[in-house]
């Protein structure tokens, strides 16, 4: 059970994980803190393991990575255990390890902080408490590596299906129908494509990188693809790396050909917009409209209408009549929710601390949101009241999430443009950047790091060695989509481009990569680190 993991690839790493339950021979480790790994061992038939190591024998490197779960993709991390451990190390029990084959189900508990693995005979193999969170991230990874389905009785319990199981075959069929398993092929195909047509393929490739991370391990590349990859790796190996100060300079990097110019188009005009609608007011060619918006934005006077489509309030395929009908329904729905908090009595409020806390935080934040803009300036401004009421109604719409700081920033430009409470609410709810535990943000920051390592390895390495590999300094950029960094007009232009969903999802991550690449020399020359951004 205790093999050395030298040749194993780490798919997931998380520190601050407490071992809560395990077989009797691991007694000494119970309630101690360590690091949890998901590993894959090519030498043992690509077998995967969950492995937990107590802190005192964890290798003291990569401190940075351990703070956040890092999904390691392209490079295999070469960690050797020898040398770092006392001589008798290999004779002692050093980790709790269980093969994926043993796992028949796993269950999240304790407000998503605890994860237990079961062997199907109602025995718990092991159980862990995630002191730094990220349990859900691991569950996501497990779900992508194992064929699972949530239990009908318990939504936190995931059943693992094995290959001899009839249910699995059914599941397989449904996967095949969804065509998900082709992702690994797609990635390698794209990789080849990138070499041949770098710019055309890159956008598409980026959109798939994270999928690749999760799924590719199931599917080794074919020979051609492997050759391509090897070639590329050899190129890297041939580069001369020398050290300057505490970062490495890679002198020769395979270069992409010159970038093609894509001039911005003029903003979408009212004529173009109307021209794309048929007599019923239905948009005929949605893709071409979105492309126009992506390439040029929207004329300011037309935004009021177009944003309602971009923000999924109006369905793109709807007719004018359908939209009128929708407005009535949505208006009723909104005011119903609004009444729910408006009608709350003082006693109810006094007995409802969660609600009270949210209400007071909204009040505080509304009072300090974009007050420099005329629209929100001055005391007793009715627009501030609307801002407040929409956020309060959002609490009733999604009480589990409630109010998260940053929401008022995202709502402000929408309300400023639409000047209508109901419409602004329905447009606002599309913003999905907020989670109770910031899991979505962590994932975005992780993905940003993955992209950066792919696009510009030197800057990624530089950040890693300057305590910035967690990409925290981009947190505000991502949470409110550059709202605090750009002018009002630029924010609007940028957001409408983002909302087209072109050229791929998570385009904003590419924007971050582009900024970091542009500022690369400034960052490196000034020796900027986490504490200097």
């Amino acid at each position: 059970m205790d093999e050395v993991i030298d040749d194993c690839l780490e798919i997931f790493t998380q520190d601050g994980v407490l071992l809560k339950q395990a077989a009797a021979n691991y007694m000494t480790f119970i309630n101690t803190i360590g690091t949890l790994y998901v590993t894959e061992c090519p030498s043992s038939n690509r077998q995967r393991f969950i492995e937990w190591r107590p802190n005192d024998v964890t290798i003291d490197s990569d401190i940075q990575d351990q703070e956040w779960a890092v999904v390691n993709t392209i490079q295999k991390r070469t960690r050797t255990l020898s040398g770092n451990f006392p001589p008798d190390y290999h004779n002692r029990i050093k980790s709790v390890k269980c093969s994926f084959n043993e796992i028949k189900s796993f269950r999240m508990a304790n407000k998503s902080r605890q994860l237990s693995f079961h062997d199907g005979k109602s025995e718990c193999i092991c159980s862990f408490i995630f002191q730094h969170g990220n349990c859900e991230l691991l569950v996501g990874i497990l779900k992508s590596l194992l064929k699972t389905a949530p239990s009908r009785r318990d939504k936190h319990l995931f059943i693992v299906y094995d290959s001899n199981n009839l249910e699995l075959q059914q599941l397989d069929r449904s996967f095949a129908e969804l065509n998900l398993q082709s992702d690994a092929h797609t990635f390698w195909g794209m990789f080849k494509n990138i070499r041949e047509h770098p710019y055309e393929a890159t956008f598409e490739a980026f959109a798939k990188v994270t999928d690749y991370v999760n799924k590719s391990l199931e599917q080794p590349p074919d020979d051609d693809q492997r050759d391509d990859l090897n070639k590329s790796i050899t190129e890297y190996e041939n580069t001369t790396i020398h050290s300057q100060g505490d970062y490495e300079v890679i002198a020769k990097v395979p270069e992409l050909p010159k970038r093609k110019d894509f001039p911005r188009l003029r903003p979408l005009t009212a004529e173009q917009w109307k021209g794309h609608m048929n007599l019923d007011g239905k948009i005929e060619d949605i893709e071409s409209i979105k492309t126009l918006i992506f390439r040029g934005g929207v004329t300011p006077s037309l935004r009021q209408e177009v944003w309602k489509f971009l923000l999924d309030y109006y369905p793109w395929e709807s007719t004018e009549a359908e939209r009128q009908k929708l407005m009535t329904i949505k208006s009723d729905e909104y005011y119903n929710m609004k009444l729910q908090w408006k009608r709350m009595t003082k006693t109810q409020e006094d007995n409802f601390s969660d609600y009270r806390d949210r209400k007071s935080l909204i009040e505080k934040d509304v009072n300090r949101t974009d007050r420099n803009l005329d629209f929100y300036a001055g005391d007793n401004n009715s627009n501030l009241q609307m801002l407040n009421d929409i956020l309060m109604t959002y609490i009733m719409y999604n009480f589990d999430l409630g109010y998260v700081q940053g929401m008022s920033d995202l709502l402000s430009p929408i309300l400023l443009l639409l000047k209508n409470e109901v419409e602004s609410f329905w447009c606002f709810i599309r913003s999905r950047n907020f989670d109770v535990d910031q899991a979505g943000m962590k994932e975005q920051l992780n993905n940003l790091h993955t992209l950066l390592s792919f696009v510009d390895p030197p800057i990624a390495t530089y950040l890693d060695t300057h305590d910035s590999g967690n990409m925290f300094f981009c947190f505000r950029w991502l949470l409110v989509w550059f709202k605090r960094e750009l002018s009002q007009e630029d924010v609007m232009r940028f957001w409408e481009v983002l909302w087209t969903g072109y050229p791929c999802e998570n385009f904003h991550l590419l924007v971050c990569v582009a900024i970091l690449e542009t500022e690369k020399s400034t960052i490196i020359e000034n020796n900027y680190g986490f504490t200097k951004f």
Binding site: E67, H132, G133, D357, L361, K364, D365, R368, T369, D370, R371, N372, V404, Q405, G406, S408, D409, V436, D437, Q438, N470, F472, F475, R476, L479, V480, R484, F530, T531
Partner: protein
């Protein structure tokens, strides 16, 4: 001796409920400015200031954090290596005082300093320019005493009242903390620089080209 020592960077973290004035205090101290239009802090921000403490010039790096509790899960990276933690509450808002314990505990858990019981905290009761007052000085001082005598200052970021004094105390505590941490190890002498630091003579410096 002091001048030849390695440049000292003190890392200070400001924590407390939303809207107690963390950003305002930091800006009043570093820039001597107040605005009532500060926006809610997202993630974290920091400013630096050079200060002289006991004849030593040190750089204070002050980290201003988001007040909403759920952003605390990001704390680990921000709190790491802190030399002093400043807790802030609003003297007119009782709930901001009540939550001090949880801010302190959370900091100790996430930053996990070497000696939690001796880690320096400083408490600031802000907005003393406002009425009505909900938390008396006495009550705040009692809390401080119960936590191993945390220094307490009553401030107004708006009027700049006591802000300078408070941050000087913060700097002193941070410096003392850093020195005590260094004393745990054998302090190495300064590195010997092999480069020629002598300025070239003006003749050699100028060149006709």
């Amino acid at each position: 001796m002091s001048s030849s020592r390695k440049k000292v960077l003190l890392k200070v973290i400001i924590l407390g409920e939303s809207s107690v004035g963390k950003t305002s205090l930091m800006n009043q101290y570093v820039n001597r400015k107040f605005s009532n239009q500060y926006k809610a802090t997202i993630g974290a921000d920091f400013l630096t200031k050079e200060v002289t403490v006991d004849d030593r010039t040190v750089t204070m790096q002050i980290w201003d954090t988001a007040g909403q509790e759920r952003f605390q899960s990001l704390g680990v990276a921000f709190y790491r290596g802190a030399d002093c933690c400043v807790l802030v509450f609003d003297v007119t808002a009782p709930n901001t005082f009540k939550s001090l314990d949880s801010w302190r505990d959370e900091f100790l858990i996430q930053a996990s300093p070497r000696e939690p019981e001796n880690f320096p905290f400083v408490l600031l009761g802000n907005k003393v320019d406002l009425e009505p007052r909900a938390i008396s000085s006495k009550r705040a001082q009692q809390w401080c005493q119960s936590k191993n005598n945390i220094p307490y200052f009553e401030t107004s970021a708006k009027e700049g009242l006591n802000v300078e004094q408070a941050f000087l105390a913060i700097a002193k505590n941070a410096l003392a903390q850093q020195n005590s941490t260094f004393d745990l190890y054998n302090e190495f002498p300064d590195q010997i620089k092999l480069t020629n630091t002598q300025k070239p003579s003006s003749n050699g410096d100028s060149c006709a080209c």
